[in-house]
């Protein structure tokens, strides 16, 4: 007797709430669309402002929002809270954990073989280089965002510093790539510390805004400092990298001539591929090593609880600065690679969109996870290319895919955290416990 009655009260209280939500959404839609859709303005034949109203379209849009809200709310109640247990059957989860164990080595072997398999497909090689560049950027930003928990929206600034450092040093002084590469990293790290100082006391949203501004400042300086950077025209004629002094071109002292094989432009692409792969693997190795060292543990502790860190005698200032500097250094390396690959750079390549893309890769991958970031870079950059055939709908499909992934795995593709030290057995730590950091 009691059960049906509670059932009815539940539905009864559900319908007004449902209508209320839908009504609020409809009102919001009305406010938004009344100006965007309801009134249409245009310049008349004599330059005067003419306008007319489109209340019919407005009404249908608001009605669609009202109906859609009800449908979505009903669906949500019907499906219930989206837990991973419910969406993914246990058998599949078990299989996935098995895949997870061998995924990283398999991916690495496949990556090493990419130039062999796709030797004649320039498009795929170029795409692979692009993906690897973003893998490296993602791993670099992962130190700042994933480990230290400091939300950095201006990461592209360090990418730009690295690229311009190499471009300017190489074109002005004729220094080789291998000398400029560490210099680009050091300069980017220096700028990382410079950004770090003013933002040390900031947290969360405030930190994000200042780092965002920093990224824009660097870009605007690059545009306006014409005498040094060439302004919007950028820097061109950046030297290509050499294999320890041996150029990869069609000349007599080029690599092909020295090895006695026929020259092909693909040689340079393959060389660039292995170069960025080596740089990315270096980033990965250093990050994994640092995680197991006191500095890396302090970064993660900082993400978990800054106050407790201070109570344990950890210098939070230097800890934050080293995180910024390390992340920035890898960004600088990637920038130098970008410059030598393109041969031409301009401020246009270093917009906020790049920062957002790299941050999306880190978040989608699962903050702090190296494998997750690599998979996310592959999904984001490769997936975006995959949908090229859909033309106009590319962004839409891509957006849906991202939303679905985030519903399915709210803490990223690889959400759990591996401990850095253990007594008996290393147990993965559930993402529910790991903090995102607050600044």
């Amino acid at each position: 007797m009691t059960a049906p009655s509670t059932q009815t009260t539940k539905t009864a209280s559900g319908i007004p709430a449902l209508l209320k939500t839908a009504f609020i959404n409809a009102v919001i839609a009305l406010v938004l669309f009344s100006l965007m859709v309801g009134i249409r303005t245009e310049a008349g034949s004599e330059g005067q402002l003419t306008y007319w109203t489109r209340f019919g379209e407005l009404a249908s849009l608001v009605a669609a929002v009202f109906g859609g809200s009800i449908v979505i709310e009903l669906l949500r109640q019907w499906i219930g809270p989206a837990g991973t247990e419910k969406l993914v059957p246990p058998a599949l989860q078990k299989g996935m954990s098995l895949v997870g164990r061998y995924l990283a080595p398999a991916l690495l072997i496949f990556t090493l073989l990419v130039p062999v398999i796709f030797y004649n497909q320039r498009y795929i090689l170029d795409l692979a280089i692009l993906v690897l560049t973003y893998v490296m950027l993602g791993w670099g930003l992962n130190v700042v965002v994933g480990l230290a928990g400091l939300l950095d929206l201006g990461y592209v600034a360090f990418y730009a510093v690295g690229a311009y450092s190499y471009a300017l040093l190489a074109t002005n002084f004729g220094w080789s790539f291998w000398i400029c590469l560490p210099l680009a990293g050091i300069l980017a790290a220096f700028w990382g510390v410079l950004l770090g100082f003013p933002v040390l006391r900031l947290r969360g949203d405030y930190l994000a805004i200042v780092t965002l501004a920093f990224g824009e400042i660097i870009r605007l300086v690059l545009i306006n400092w014409q005498s040094l950077t060439g302004g919007p025209n950028g820097v061109s004629g950046i030297p290509r990298p050499t294999l320890f002094g041996i150029p990869l071109n069609n000349s007599d002292d080029g690599l092909a001539a020295k090895l006695g094989i026929e020259f092909s432009p693909t040689h340079r692409i393959v060389f660039l591929f292995y170069l960025i792969l080596a740089l990315a693997l270096l980033t990965n190795w250093v990050t994994i090593r640092l995680r197991g060292l006191p500095i890396g543990r302090a970064w993660e502790a900082l993400r978990e609880d800054e106050v407790a860190c201070r109570a344990l005698g950890i210098n939070t200032t230097t800890t934050k600065l080293t995180a910024f500097a390390t992340g920035a250094m890898f960004g600088g390396f990637a920038g130098a690679f970008f410059a030598t690959r393109q041969g031409f750079i301009s401020p246009e390549s270093f917009t906020f969109q790049e920062s957002a893309l790299v941050l999306a890769i880190v978040v989608l991958g699962g903050m702090g996870s190296q494998l997750g970031v690599a998979l996310a870079a592959l999904t984001m950059i490769g997936g975006f290319e995959l949908f090229r055939g859909l033309e106009t709908y590319r962004m839409l499909v891509f957006g849906w895919a991202m939303v679905l992934i985030m519903i399915w795995r709210p803490r990223g593709l690889v959400g759990h955290r591996a401990p850095t030290v253990y007594l008996k057995k290393a147990q993965a730590i559930s993402s529910d416990l790991v903090k995102e950091g607050h600044g």
Binding site: R289, L293, A301, R310, L312, G313, L423, I429, K435
Partner: protein
């Protein structure tokens, strides 16, 4: 007070705008002793703690810490992490502050950060895997294991700290503070939320820290079974000022203390006591 003093708080005053949280508070803590700071809610106990451990900068007064070798440190001049690093004062928090996403062992390793940082040559030696660092890390794990045994958490070493039961988290926080090898351990309500059995185990742990390791303890506590049983000296605060101090027995019989806790005025408390005895 006869013994050697480790902490000397002199005329400590802390103001937040117009509110005086602590006024002209003076007390001392002896070496190898347990000193308790008690008082009703809002008496200013945690503010005193935050001044001692550098989370607040006192408006006035002096806080001196004397190390066993005679070195004196003015705590009011050091700030945040330096108090833990240089003055060797460790603390726990009223609302537990562990690193929930890190394992129990990792929590204790983070506590040994400064030692490990030096051993890793500020990361450079550690990055190349120098043997000196590996030895230091091994010693750090040994110390952590030792503490896990003491607080009875050894079999939970590889679990996430956030997964521990409340009482275990309390003990882990004390173990983490002790892994910094402090001269003075400051505990902010260590028995809060513990059941009778857990609180008895806590008493034993604190006594062993005092007797076996010779660490001085300063604690804030509401649980009188803990305070009265293990404290050597008690300081009672109310409304930011000291109202009494002495041994547990002296404090228990002090009418001012009873009045403060019962919320009545002195005469009434005297009357209550006289009728009781």
């Amino acid at each position: 007070m006869s013994g050697e003093r480790i902490l000397n708080v002199d005329q400590l005053t802390m103001r937040f705008g117009g509110i005086v949280a602590v006024q002209d508070l003076s007390f001392a803590a002896e070496r190898r002793k347990i000193t308790a700071l008690i008082g009703p809610n809002g008496a200013g106990k945690t503010t005193v703690f935050n001044c001692i451990t550098g989370f607040y900068k006192p408006t006035g007064g002096a806080i001196r810490l004397t190390h066993a070798d005679g070195r004196e440190i003015a705590l009011e001049r050091l700030n945040d992490f330096r108090i833990a690093k240089q003055a060797k004062v460790a603390r726990t928090f009223q609302n537990i502050r562990l690193f929930p996403g890190m394992t129990v062992l990792e929590n204790l390793m983070v506590a040994q950060h400064n030692m490990l940082m030096r051993a890793s040559g500020f990361t450079l030696l550690g990055l190349v895997g120098a043997p000196t660092y590996r030895d230091a890390e091994k010693r750090a794990i040994d110390l952590a294991t030792d503490w896990l045994k003491r607080v009875n958490l050894l079999d939970r070493a590889d679990d996430a700290a956030g997964n521990l039961a409340y009482g275990d988290q309390r003990r882990l926080e004390i173990a983490r503070a002790m892994c910094t090898e402090p001269a003075l351990l400051c505990l902010d309500e260590p028995a809060a939320g513990l059941n009778a059995r857990e609180s008895a185990a806590l008493n034993e742990l604190l006594l062993s820290i005092r007797d076996d390791l010779g660490t001085s303890i300063l604690l804030i506590e509401h649980d009188m079974s803990v305070v009265m049983e293990i404290s050597d000296h008690i300081v009672v605060m109310d409304h930011g000022v000291k109202i009494a101090q002495g041994t547990p027995r002296e404090v228990r019989d002090d009418p001012k203390v009873i009045a403060a806790y019962l919320g009545a005025d002195e005469e009434e408390a005297m009357a209550v006591m006289e009728s009781g005895s």
